[in-house]
């Protein structure tokens, strides 16, 4: 009996040495926000991953239903700090669809301008974070220093560095003066030069290449199957960009290229983002040159007519979808947000699983995770869990309503 126990103990011990779980999160230096990844590792090799993103459920969709459309602009903005412009733009477009009104051309130009400035700032922030994940702190510091250029421009144009509060229903809240235009142009020239330099660094630095190329492979077929979005999808060689495919805010008038790379790895994602930033710089310059004069805002009544609308925007992280349903009152009846990170979670799990020749090391985890530019606070979803039965399920709205009714009648 004793021997058997000992034997069992030994067996347990040896299997522990071979395989064990490495928890990454909810708090981990590689993650800027709470999320939980459980990695099964064998030595340095990752063999499986389990993910939980629901650490930060803020109930924003419910809160949106209790505020009016103007108040909601400011709540929507706070879904995500970095892509706040994309969120407000998406929201404003959805609500304007409800009214069935077109906004002035100049307002559209300003929206596009700020959107692209925000993309520059987001991509540069990401580049710095990615450099930090592979331990290249010098690049991190340099990129973030240069990012200040665009932050200052955003502050000058909108009044705030990050949370811009520029988009509103029916247009934008501030006009752009001619002096401001000159400053933006100057800033763009500096950024263009710096970005070209960073492109060279990404392509030529041996250690960056050693850490990024061939890591975090996502094949085009998997990318489509797992509904990857944004730069993650484009780095797998698929030409897909909401700005081109379903143009909004004058993206059909302002010329730009959809950047794709076909190496499918982290390096491709770095290069896609750097090149996209360069495209954005050109778009900003184009906007400044071709902006017509005129109003920047139309006044709309507080309550939109009954109806529903869907709006799509290419946020820096990928396709962002907002859905709104109005019942004619001053508050929306239902609001739904689908953020790009949520769409990319299945893909990142695919990238992090070793298969055949493709091997993922523990050392690759942070950079591969970062390569989708995750923003977990937007991804929380609710599910129900019966602890005693160890069962998890998700209810649709109707089921939830039925459950509430049952509870009410008890």
């Amino acid at each position: 009996m004793m021997q058997e126990e000992n034997l069992q103990k030994e067996e347990k011990k040896s299997s522990y040495e071979l395989f064990f779980d490495i928890p990454v999160g909810p708090q981990h230096p590689a993650l800027k926000e709470p999320a939980f990844f459980k990695f099964k590792v064998e030595g340095e090799k990752v063999t499986g991953v389990d993910v939980d993103v629901s650490y930060n459920h803020r109930g924003i969709e419910k809160a949106l239903e209790q505020r009016n459309y103007i108040q909601n602009i400011y709540l929507i903005e706070r879904i995500c700090g970095i892509c706040n412009v994309a969120h407000t733009l998406c929201y404003a477009q959805a609500v304007e669809q409800l009214y069935g009104k077109e906004i002035p051309t100049r307002a559209n130009y300003i929206r596009l301008l700020i959107e692209e400035l925000a993309r520059i700032h987001s991509h540069m922030l990401w580049l710095g974070v990615a450099a930090h994940e592979i331990g290249f702190d010098t690049l991190f510091m340099y990129v973030w220093r240069d990012r200040e250029v665009v932050m200052d421009l955003i502050e000058m144009l909108t009044g705030n560095r990050v949370t811009t509060a520029i988009n509103t229903i029916g247009g934008v809240r501030r006009d752009i003066s001619d002096e401001a235009k000159d400053k933006v142009k100057k800033g763009m020239n500096i950024l263009e030069e710096r970005l070209k330099y960073y492109r060279k660094v990404a392509l030529n630095d041996p250690t960056v290449n050693a850490r990024c190329s061939g890591v975090g492979i996502l094949k085009p077929r998997d990318a489509i199957k797992l509904c990857a979005v944004g730069p993650t999808l484009r780095a797998s060689g698929i030409k897909n960009d909401v700005r081109k495919d379903d143009s909004y805010a004058l993206h059909d008038e302002v010329p730009f290229n959809v950047i794709t790379y076909d190496t499918m790895d982290v390096l491709a994602r770095v290069l896609v983002r750097v090149d996209e930033t360069l495209e954005s710089v050109n778009m900003v310059k184009y906007c400044l040159d071709h902006m017509p004069s005129g109003d920047v805002r139309i006044k709309l009544p507080l309550s939109p007519p009954v109806g529903e609308a869907v709006s799509r925007v290419e946020a820096p992280r990928g396709e962002l979808i907002h859905y709104v349903r109005s019942n004619g009152t001053k508050n929306p009846e239902r609001y739904k947000v689908r953020t790009p990170t949520f769409g990319n979670i299945p893909s990142v799990c695919e990238m992090l699983t070793s298969k055949g020749d493709y091997e993922v090391n523990i050392a690759d985890i942070p950079i591969v995770l970062a390569s989708i530019d995750p923003c977990f606070s937007c991804t929380a979803r609710m599910e129900f869990r019966d602890v005693s039965k160890d069962k998890t399920w998700i209810w649709s709205l109707e089921e939830l309503k039925a459950y509430c009714k049952r509870q009410g009648s008890l």
Binding site: P23, V41, H132, F136, T207, R211, A363
Partner: protein, 322 residues
């Protein structure tokens, strides 16, 4: 009388107290240069230009709560920080600073110095394993693999210097350089490059900070250490940095020698020592700012594909010359 003098030397100058003081200043210099290279200001507020910051950090850590998790191997866990610091300080005593020989000096002490470095690494491996933490275990595993990578080229480069000086005694190595030229200038240049690179790996600094890679495994083998223990480990790192720079100076840059006014040797030798170690520190810090972190397999690969052959080449070269 002689015994008392030696005791004072060991305790104060150029012994333990001097080493600790210098270690804090060199950490500050390291941080300051690193910051400058990254376009930052670095430590600024504690003392003039932030010079007291490393010391303040040390005091702060001493005051912090010292947590010993239940699962750890307690005797090992408690003893290792002290052992590590003792080992690095012992190494410092062998280095020539105020004289062409160290306070402790004996025939074959070069082997002892190299062995001390390996011992510190083994302490690190034990520290990781005794923590019983997943991140620490991975960190210890990596430290062991890294040791396999850098130890042999480092030994070979030291051996080539031994062949040049025809002795494994640091005193002889330094005196040969005083009488002829620094080994760095002559055939030792390859060995110096290898020694600096391997030193970077020994000190676990970028691009070889793999065992404590922050974004990957939190703090690696250091994860469970807190309070006093963490303070001691960090101090060990600083002393080790100093010790490694000092060893590089003794082997390749002619130790504390330089133009001498007779009678002033005890003053001039430490000054030369400081200048030369600062040069080595500058190299080490610049390396730290230039690269991304390698993966452990890439590190071992790099070491066996490039460093070991070059180190062997260096030994052959030296053998032909001598």
């Amino acid at each position: 009388m002689n015994l008392l003098l030696e005791l004072l030397q060991i305790l104060f100058f150029p012994g333990i107290l001097f080493a600790l003081l210098l270690a804090f200043i060199y950490e500050w210099l390291d941080r300051k240069i690193y910051a400058k290279l990254q376009n930052r200001v670095g430590p600024l507020y504690t003392g003039p230009n932030g010079i007291l910051q490393p010391f303040a950090d040390f005091i702060k850590l001493l005051a912090k709560e010292d947590i010993v998790p239940d699962e750890t191997d307690k005797p090992l866990f408690n003893a290792l920080p002290i052992v590590a610091l003792t080992l690095s300080l012992t190494g410092f005593l062998v280095l020539p600073i105020i004289d062409l020989r160290g306070i402790i000096s004996f025939n074959g002490d070069l082997i002892f110095l190299i062995a001390l470095m390996t011992l510190i690494c083994i302490v690190i491996i034990y520290a990781g394993i005794s923590s019983s933490n997943r991140f620490s275990t991975v960190g210890a595993e990596r430290a062991a693999l890294q040791l396999l990578g850098y130890e042999i080229p480092m030994m070979l480069s030291a051996a080539s210097i031994g062949i040049l000086a025809n002795s494994m005694w640091v005193y002889n190595i330094v005196s040969v350089q005083v009488n002829t030229v620094w080994f760095l200038v002559g055939p030792g240049i390859l060995g110096f490059a290898i020694f600096i690179l391997c030193g970077q790996a020994e000190l676990e600094r970028i691009p070889f900070d793999i065992p404590e890679a922050e974004t990957e495994i939190v703090a690696g083998w250091l994860t469970e250490f807190s309070g006093r223990k963490l303070a001691l480990f960090r101090l060990t790192r600083d002393v080790e940095l100093l010790y490694l720079s000092g060893l590089a100076v003794a082997l390749f840059l002619g130790g504390p020698s330089g133009p001498i006014i007779s009678g002033l040797e005890p003053v001039l030798y430490p000054i030369y020592f400081l200048l030369k170690t600062f040069f080595v520190l500058f190299l080490l810090t610049t390396l730290r700012a230039l690269f991304a972190r390698l993966r452990i397999d890439q590190m071992v690969n790099f070491s066996w594909k490039y460093l070991v052959p070059i180190a062997i080449l260096q030994v052959l070269l030296v053998r032909v010359i001598v």
